[in-house]
């Protein structure tokens, strides 16, 4: 059990840790943020190339206004800011490489923006001068040629160089112009109005300067490899995201493995539980079997006890019955032997009568012998008559017949009582049952000179198991008889019937019971009798029997005064009660 708890705890902890880690990493994956950042990077690339194109267009006069160029520089700055703000869950904070690249790009963009601004300014000035200076130079050349042919050679060289420099950035052309700038000013005396020449001079200087500047800023701006920085940033960014995704994917796998592991452990736990359960079941079965065996054993021994109680009752009964039989048997025996004596006298009489018959029949007759035999016969008859042998015998035989009747009656009772083992439900007359029981304990009753007042008037038929009720009656009457001291006493038996119940009461004038005895009276094996006299099961069994008949036993007892045992039966088992009983009940 402890192992299970430990396993579950470890599993839970592991699951929490894994879940937390997963959540942490999963949160970092903001696919939307990631995609929008990628989009921004692409936008920046586009803006970057757009900037380059626009600068070139401006440089070569294909674009007359800076609106778009200005918009693109602003847009680049905004998009960069957006990327920084788009820093989904610290993407940029986690990755040093990304930080560095973004910083590099920021610097590049700042520089580029600066260069673009400068380019715009210088390009504007250049555009102005380049438009103005060469035609002015041509005018000046014409003026000089008109005045003094060949004097414009220097100016021609400069103006040609100006065209070339303007159109096709050649360093040497710029140098040609620069080396001849002073020469141009030297031409001043040749002009009446020197202003155009001065203007020309200013503009060629401007063209040279601005062209160089414009070209420089343009070139520098184009040279800034923002594109490769952005490419690198994008690559690292994608890689970063990918590794994060892989991490989450790995965590997903771990989760899966963990899930399987957890499942395995859960299965193991269930298996163990089942194992324990089946063990338990086996144990329970074993115990049940043991309990059943013990119960059977107990039942057996209980039955044995019940049997021995029966035997004990039977023993007592037999003792009583033996006594009952013995007494009449004694005097019958005695009478028979006395009658037997009388019979000898009759036999002797009959012999003398036979002698007389013989003498009478002898021819010739011997008178003396005849007389002698007659006298002998009469003498014997006289003595018999005097001794009243036949009367006595008749009396003895009558007496014996009475004794034999007694025995016969007892046997008949006994047979009635033998229904003890019959467990069938029958209609049973309570009065008959009680009378039988009384007869069975008659010896005790007589010995102790107990006055039995059987006030059961009328008869009541109960639907019951008669042998069982007999056992109860016998038990109660025996107890009562035993409780009555040697000096004698009484046992009153009566019955009451009312609307609800039928009650049989046994009231004795015995020793009674103290409270402790009374409280234990129905306990099995509780007895106040000496060993061998009782099993302590009589009342217990009686109680059970009465309960079986839906009835109740109420014991009312006072120490030294006597005990009243009442058997209370519900009316439902009363099948028939004659009017006498009912009347009696109504008088209560």
């Amino acid at each position: 059990m402890k192992l299970n708890v430990l396993l579950i705890s470890i599993l839970s902890l592991f699951a929490i840790a894994l879940g937390y880690n997963y959540y942490q990493n999963y949160q970092k994956i903001n696919q939307e943020g990631y995609l929008s950042t990628l989009e921004l990077i692409n936008d920046l690339k586009q803006v970057d190339s757009e900037l380059n194109t626009l600068m070139l267009k401006s440089r070569y006069g294909l674009l007359a206004d800076y609106d778009e160029l200005a918009r693109q520089t602003v847009s680049a700055g905004n998009k960069l800011l957006e990327i920084k703000e788009n820093n989904v869950n610290g993407y940029l904070d986690d990755n040093k490489q990304l930080q560095d690249l973004l910083k590099e790009y920021t610097e590049q963009l700042e520089l580029k923006t600066d260069l673009v601004e400068n380019f715009k300014s210088h390009n504007a000035v250049l555009r102005n001068s380049i438009k103005y200076a060469p035609p002015l130079g041509d005018q000046l050349i014409d003026m000089l040629e008109a005045k003094q042919p060949g004097s414009s050679n220097l100016l021609k060289t400069v103006n040609q160089a100006l065209y070339r420099w303007a159109l096709y950035t050649q360093r040497n052309q710029a140098q040609i112009i620069q080396t001849n700038v002073n020469g141009v000013l030297d031409l001043m005396p040749l002009f009446d109005d020197q202003t155009p020449l001065l203007e020309y001079n200013a503009h060629i200087i401007a063209v040279v300067d601005e062209q160089a500047q414009t070209q420089r800023y343009l070139q520098n701006a184009l040279d800034i490899n923002t594109r490769s920085t952005l490419d690198a940033f994008e690559a690292v960014y994608i890689e970063h995201n990918l590794s994060l995704q892989n991490k989450v994917a790995a965590l997903t796998n771990y989760s899966l493995v963990f899930g399987l592991l957890a499942l395995a452990i859960a299965i193991y736990l269930v298996w163990r539980l089942r194992q324990t359960y089946s063990k338990l079941e086996t144990k329970v079965q074993e115990r049940t079997r043991q309990i059943n065996a013990a119960y059977d054993e107990l039942k057996d021994s209980q039955q044995q006890l019940v049997q021995s109680e029966k035997m004990a009752s039977l023993g007592q009964m037999v003792a009583g019955i033996a006594h009952e039989i013995n007494t009449p048997l004694g005097y019958v025996n005695n009478n028979v032997s006395i009658v037997n004596g009388a019979f000898t006298s009759i036999q002797s009489l009959m012999g003398r009568l036979h002698k007389v018959y013989d003498e009478v029949a002898t021819i010739p007759r011997n008178k003396d012998a005849l007389n002698k035999s007659i006298v002998n016969l009469l003498k014997h008859y006289r003595s018999m008559r005097n001794e009243e042998v036949l009367d006595e015998a008749k009396e003895l035989l009558d007496d014996s017949t009475h004794g034999l009747d007694d025995i016969s009656s007892l046997v008949k009772n006994l047979r009635s009582f033998a229904r003890l083992d019959k467990q069938t439900i029958e209609f049973f007359d309570v009065k008959v049952g009680i009378n039988n029981a009384l007869k069975l304990v008659n010896s005790v009753i007589k010995t102790k000179n107990i006055e039995v007042n059987n006030n059961l008037s009328g008869s009541v038929l109960l639907k019951c198991i008669p042998s069982q009720l007999n056992q109860v009656f016998l038990n109660i009457i025996t107890n009562a008889a035993q409780a009555i001291p040697e000096l004698g006493g009484y046992l009153d038996i009566d019955s009451i019937i009312d609307d609800e119940k039928f009650i049989i009461r046994f009231k004795d004038s015995g020793v009674g019971m103290d409270d402790e005895t009374k409280s234990k009276i129905f306990d099995p094996f509780f007895t106040t009798k000496s060993v061998g006299e009782g099993t302590g099961l009589g009342m217990s069994i009686s109680y059970k029997i009465i309960k079986l008949h839906k009835g109740d036993i109420v014991v009312d007892s006072e120490f030294d005064k006597g005990t009243t045992v009442s058997l209370v039966f519900p009316l439902e088992i009363v099948v028939e009660a004659d009017a006498e009983v009912t009347d009696y009940a109504q008088t209560i």
Binding site: Y60, G61, L62, L63, A64, D65, Y66, D67, L69, A70, R71, T73, V74, G77, D114, E117, N118, K120, S121, N123, A124, V125, R127, N128, S129, K131, Y132, A166, L167, Y168, T195, E199, A202, H203, A206
Partner: protein, 312 residues
């Protein structure tokens, strides 16, 4: 030689192929009308200044072409600010804000103006936010429109949103650009040609006729030769680059005809004079008077309609 030829062709053909350097003002810039309406209230709200005396509109009168017509505006407590106030109209079309371009956009310009001790003079934005948060209508309006309590960012955004609506569309010149030949006079058309021919358009191009690049004052003639305009070093004060000395954002010429005085210090009182300065120092040449007046005539055609509801 072949490449030289190609470039030559391109160079010559370029101007022919190229579209006009000046573009019509767009009909509108994307914005949230409700936020713009909220911004309008703020634009006119004097609580934006330290002592409740000035609103944005105090220097950018909407009925005076978005300027105050003085060389340099009077800020909080009567202080004179450093530079001339440019018009608020079409300002959203500028690539940056302020003369030296130190504000990347309108929001930043607003942020700076409010806490500039010489302009609105607020101690800090926190103070302003607290001040405006006490106004129930603002409190609920911001909560409703922005889904968050009033703060510096959304105040700036609301005002900027309003300013994005301040476009002067449908100018005669824009109509001309869109093909209406009779929208402007012949003189103005001539002026436009001069504007291009003399090179003004090198810098003053695009929809806002300027406002999309920086340029140095005095590219062809030393500006020090003229008193006044030379003292302010412009963008140099922002970048510290030598080249940026006296570099300023090229201003829009859209409402130039209505917004004297001129240049960053407002030292030039008339448009004619301003054109002279430009011709002299930026173009490095002489321009005949009739050409100049044609150019001025052209500049007048750049003025479009004031948007509806620009007055309180």
């Amino acid at each position: 030689m072949k490449s030289l030829f190609t470039i030559f062709i391109v160079f010559l053909a370029g101007p022919l192929l190229a579209v006009e350097p000046i573009l019509p003002i767009p009909d509108s810039i994307p914005h949230d009308p409700q936020k713009a309406e909220l911004g309008k209230q703020l634009f006119f709200d004097k609580r934006l200044s330290k002592d409740d005396t000035l609103s944005c509109e105090s220097c950018h009168f909407l009925d005076k072409a978005g300027v105050d017509l003085v060389p340099r505006s009077i800020g909080v407590g009567g202080q004179v600010v450093k530079r001339n106030s440019p018009t608020v109209f079409n300002s959203a079309l500028n690539f940056r804000q302020l003369w030296d371009g130190r504000a990347e956009n309108l929001e930043v310009q607003i942020e700076k103006a409010v806490v500039n001790p010489k302009v609105m003079g607020m101690e800090s934005w926190d103070v302003l936010v607290e001040k405006l948060a006490a106004v129930d209508s603002y409190k609920t309006a911001f909560q409703t429109l922005y889904g968050e309590p009033i703060n510096a960012e959304n105040i700036q955004h609301a005002i900027a949103e309003y300013e994005r609506t301040l476009l002067t569309t449908n100018s005669p010149f824009d109509q001309f650009l869109k093909g209406n030949q009779s929208a402007i006079s012949e003189q103005a058309k001539q002026g436009y040609n001069y504007f291009k021919a003399y090179g003004c358009v090198s810098c003053h191009q695009g929809a806002n006729v300027g406002g999309n690049l920086f340029q140095k004052m005095g590219v062809l003639k030393d500006i020090n030769l003229r008193q006044g305009l030379n003292t302010d070093l412009g963008r140099y004060s922002v970048t510290g680059n030598e080249w940026d000395k006296r570099v300023f954002k090229v201003p829009s010429l859209r409402l130039a005809a209505l917004t004297p005085p001129y240049f960053h210090d407002g030292s030039v009182a008339t448009l004619s004079e301003a054109v002279d300065v430009m011709i002299e120092y930026q173009l490095g040449r002489k321009v005949p008077e009739d050409h100049k007046s044609a150019i001025i005539e052209f500049l007048k055609t750049l003025v479009g309609d004031l948007p509806k509801g620009t007055t309180q």
